[in-house]
Point group: C2
């Protein structure tokens, strides 16, 4: 018997290659290629850091008010936390206390299974179809709650309001969490449904569309009753309020609508160009409502493309998981980064095709014209 017997039994995680060099193109974490709002940067620079000696304002009231104002809600409908993961874990604890399993797609944000395991929440995953689409009818069955990422990750597919409404209509007795981490990049928000459905909870993050991956800041929106349950959970867990600097920066970011929209517009334009270019090379990929694309190539295994791009100092994401192991998730970078990505992809695809043609010729399967 040793203390070692009581250590957690998990395989050490092998992180993706993180090169020491700094002159590489990082398209593997869905980070925003543009910096945060200059007003948010100024808020950090002007933050009175002497105040850090005190705990932050309880419940981040000024930040909550700024978010509520921006989204056309009341402060009682908003909860702010130290990142979406903080918000989601508190929400899971607050609202998923049924013996029936909660439901979510088999291909979605990996957070769900981790926190169900930790909180001992029973769950079942529901397969998406072959095109990675979620069928709302699949969620018309007994459950202890539902979690849908819309747009979904890593698929990049966004659904419309009718889709969310269908799920809600079939689940008046369950809390439905809609994770809208990527919605600002062209997705459709479920906010208009909040006044009809008091069992709807929407989560958001500052990490993507507001360029705050380096800070922990996220929020949830829902009926006053759901939000109160999350606050009660937070208080019962002795959980700390939002970091003071993040609060100040978050308020400035939320209030700078002009910069926000301009940044989104740039990312979306680059994304559309990337999708067009990749399709001309033979890639298959769904339309994206996010800041990334999810692509496969019928002729070339995804991990080969992944490896080639890494040699070119371009880092994208390849998941060695069932169903999606022939896909790449590629973040939309700046135009310059995207140009280099497109050039590298084209070089590799054409080289591969040339090799295949040579091989076929040498085998006598194809004759030159």
């Amino acid at each position: 018997m040793s203390w070692r017997d009581n250590l957690i039994r998990i395989e050490p995680y092998v992180a993706g290659a993180q090169p020491d060099k700094t002159d590489f193109i990082k398209l593997n974490a869905n980070e925003n290629p543009y910096p945060p709002s200059p007003k948010a940067i100024a808020a950090i620079r002007e933050f009175n850091a002497e105040n850090l000696k005190k705990y932050p304002s309880a419940n981040a009231v000024p930040l909550v008010k700024a978010i509520a104002k921006r989204e056309g809600l009341q402060p009682e409908n908003v909860f702010a936390g130290n990142g979406t993961d903080d918000v989601l874990s508190l929400a899971f604890r607050a609202v998923f206390n049924s013996k029936k399993p909660i439901l979510f797609p088999d291909i979605t944000y990996s957070f769900n299974t981790v926190w169900c395991d930790i909180l001992r929440i029973p769950y079942e995953t529901v397969p998406v179809d072959e095109g990675f689409n979620i069928n709302p009818d699949d969620y018309a069955r007994e459950n202890g709650g539902i979690v849908i990422a819309n747009p979904n990750a890593p698929t990049s597919i966004g659904e419309d309001l009718d889709f969310i409404r269908k799920i809600l209509d079939k689940n008046r007795e369950s809390v439905v969490i809609v994770d809208e981490a990527y919605v600002d990049f062209g997705g459709v928000t479920a906010i208009p449904l909040l006044k009809e459905y008091d069992n709807l909870l929407i989560t958001r993050t500052f990490s993507k569309s507001r360029s705050f991956a380096g800070m922990r800041l996220g929020w949830a929106m829902g009926s006053a009753e759901l939000i109160a349950a999350i606050y009660a959970t937070k208080d019962s867990m002795n959980s700390y309020p939002v970091d003071s600097i993040a609060q100040a920066a978050g308020i400035a970011a939320v209030e700078d609508e002009e910069y926000f929209q301009a940044t989104l517009k740039k990312v979306i334009a680059t994304r559309e160009r990337l999708i067009r270019e990749m399709r001309t090379m033979g890639f298959k990929l769904p339309d994206s409502q996010t800041n990334f694309v999810f692509a496969t190539h019928p002729e070339i295994p995804a991990h080969e493309i992944f490896g080639y791009l890494m040699e070119q100092d371009i880092y994208v994401r390849w998941f060695n998981k069932p169903r999606i192991d022939n896909y790449l998730r590629i973040t939309v970078g700046t135009d310059e980064e995207t140009n280099k990505l497109i050039d590298a992809l084209r070089d590799f695809v054409y080289e591969k095709r040339w090799q295949a043609r040579e091989h076929a010729l040498n085998s006598g399967w194809v004759t030159e014209d």
Copy 2:
């Protein structure tokens, strides 16, 4: 059946009064009365906030190296996280996977029970004695792990190295976590024992002695094996690395030893004066190795003193809990704040004594000389 049936069943927490006014003396959260190191403040002001668009460096390596250097350890012996609560929750998950109960004192940091409940870790609390002292012999029994806060909160009592060694010697088969949140204010650290005991894990926070209550920053120290288990847990939980600004500020704070020591010296001097003055008023309180005192008065109920101080715009902490509901936990503030506290306490104690004397005279129990 309604979604409401699956909401968490807890009483909404009623927070202590948080006045809207700002000109009150806040001695109820063990915050440091002095600001963070000027070098840390400069690090925040000079932080390149454009970089917030990217996720922070994995595993906070530069911060871990700075902490390791300061504590005379190797980086492999240090884990940094988003606050002590983040570090402790990951550590509990990583090292307490036994069916036997973990042990901790009945009077200690309230985090323990919360996270044992969430993680379904069996536990038993061990009563401290009437003087709130922990008896190491009480921990010489089968267990799945041990958590000791040293110095302990809210008692303010610190124990020496022999005490920790006794617990470790009786528990070679369990992980022993020593939470040293307050150790810098005169406690004795268990760091020298790390090279002898590979089952010892020490946790620390930046919130108190380094004046960073407004940010989330904490760390753990232990054998490479224990630290690796925490990293593996963090990675398996998809848990985010430390906030980028907090990393930069943390490094600057850890490296500014001179300011750190000067601040501690001031807090300790004020604390000793406060203890002397309170004892002259009849308060009973143990010696403190923390930045707060834990006091009771044999003649006046604690909640009356608590209420009186609040009327004087001085906020201290009163726990309405078994065994400690006649005690006040009072944070050591600046000298000016402490002077006002002492004056208010003296006024109230003398007024109460006067009232008691009048009452006794009127009842004929006591005759005037």
